[in-house]
Symmetry: C2
Subunit: 308 residues, 2 copies
């Protein structure tokens, strides 16, 4: 895409002056961030890093990144901004490796699904310069992974939640917000704790349930028969069970506290429904289903507005 000089200047401004970005983890999330910026006319340099040279080379081929190094320190040297888009369990090790190579004023952000553990990792590794740390989480994704799955419009009209720390400099938050807005996202700020509580309920718990349901059925004797007669509802319901197991393992470990709280509430509720079915209490069953349908239908507009 050819962009005029003034448009390019405006894009740089909207990007908070960020000119060189290093993305660690060039998969669906990191790759779509790069593609979204490019589509918006960002003409700075985007450097990729990660463990798989094949994936990174493919990223260059696909025009997702400009160049790459599997040596994270080399990739991050001179960057204005580092985005970590790796599984939660890899964050701390990556931060430790990259910290010595980072410019002192380089902004450090991430795209992980749990903000408490990233904040703790950043405190542990970058404790003396937290003003540049901007934890973030784009509420978007598909069940696919890898750079081949990335696409420029993934974040369009999706929410991105930033959870700046007490120490974070407002200018750093604004720069990160500006980049996500270039990708088409609506940026909002929450506290780390709010974020982790809300996401445990709407994302982490549903993933646990979907994985658990599919694994339960898959270990039954009649598994072939069961999957044979599964319909569209089952396919939609279990779509998230095709997500990356490593990423979701790490999320469950990282958000253990908030997740276990909602898990307890769900188990209790589900057992009450089970009991109602056992005693044939049609009224209790009906009331539960009616409340659920009413809640979903009422909120459908709100969440479909930000999801298509």
């Amino acid at each position: 895409m050819s962009v005029s000089a003034s448009a390019s200047a405006s894009v740089t401004q909207r990007a908070g002056g960020v000119r060189r970005i290093c993305i660690c983890g060039v998969g669906l999330i990191g790759g779509s961030f790069a593609l979204g910026l490019r589509a918006a006319g960002f003409d700075g340099e985007i450097v990729g890093s990660g463990r798989s040279a094949d994936n990174l080379a493919r990223g260059v081929e696909l025009g997702v990144i400009d160049r790459y190094s599997t040596d994270l320190a080399a990739a991050a040297a001179g960057a204005d901004l580092l985005l970590l888009a790796v599984p939660m369990g890899a964050m701390r090790a990556v931060l430790e490796r990259v910290a010595p190579a980072l410019r002192e004023d380089a902004i450090v952000s991430d795209a992980g699904s749990v903000k408490g553990s990233f904040a703790a990792d950043a405190r542990a590794v970058l404790g003396d310069s937290l003003r540049r740390v901007v934890p973030g989480h784009p509420i978007a994704g598909t069940e696919n992974s890898g750079v081949e799955a990335a696409f420029a419009t993934l974040y369009r009209q999706r929410r991105v939640i930033l959870t700046p720390l007490d120490e974070t400099a407002p200018a750093a938050t604004e720069a990160v917000a500006g980049l996500w807005r270039l990708c088409g996202a609506e940026v909002e700020c929450l506290s780390v704790e709010q974020h982790d509580r809300v996401l445990a309920a709407t994302s982490h718990l549903p993933h646990m349930l979907a994985f658990s349901l599919v694994d339960t059925l898959a270990t039954m004797q009649s598994r072939d028969e069961i999957f044979r007669y599964a319909a569209g509802g089952f396919r939609d319901f279990t779509r998230i069970a095709s997500s990356d197991p490593v990423m979701w393992r790490d999320i469950c470990v990282a958000n253990r506290g908030a997740l276990l709280e909602v898990v307890e509430e769900l188990i209790e509720h589900f057992q009450q429904l089970r009991d109602a079915i056992e005693r044939g209490d049609a009224t209790a069953i009906h009331d539960t289903f009616l409340r659920a349908k009413a809640a979903r239908d009422a909120h459908l507009d709100k969440f479909s507005r930000c999801a298509e």
Copy 2:
């Protein structure tokens, strides 16, 4: 649609000689059956019945049915085939009302999601003429209901399971199968028990889980915040929680035995996953997610083939 005389004769043949159909319950399921037959060139008469005259009048307006009566006996008089597409809990009362008005050789089928309870209802009411009873279940649907939600292609490339009784005449089963095939469906036969066990796992349990999850979140203090940050995964996962509460209440009551069995297995599995998260057992969590993803991905082809 204008259909040539020979095409019409062939359609009548494929419909097992059925010329007049009475559909009791002209909603998504019953209405789509009528529209599918019409689209295939069926030119017999389709008479609707049900409780809501408004819905039935709308059915005539939309060309779904030719005429209607809210008096079920009047609607069913002279029909070659009666299809019951009402909630499971209404089946027996409807059968009792219609039985005296039915022609002796009229075929009686249904589209309910539980076959054990329909078989029991048919035995109780039509015990002396079970040869004409063909329990059936189209594995298709959407979360919408009412005749406005009906469409001609709902059953195209979907499975319809028939569960003929020991007493059922093969010719009756063939006639019903022929009509569903005209709608574009793939017809298969299972035993009543097989059907109810399989559907408890792939359909009834997921609906319970989706209703339960949404109701759990909807009763939390932070419900507005929670729904605000829900993403596409949550929307898909909970789509089935927008289904008709009465229909699903009846299914849970009617398939209690098979449903409680899979509910127990799911609760046990889910609690094991919860325990693994509690003790931070990353390996156990990962193994579960990996098995689930592998099972879903492996079966995806099979069930997407019959679901789009």
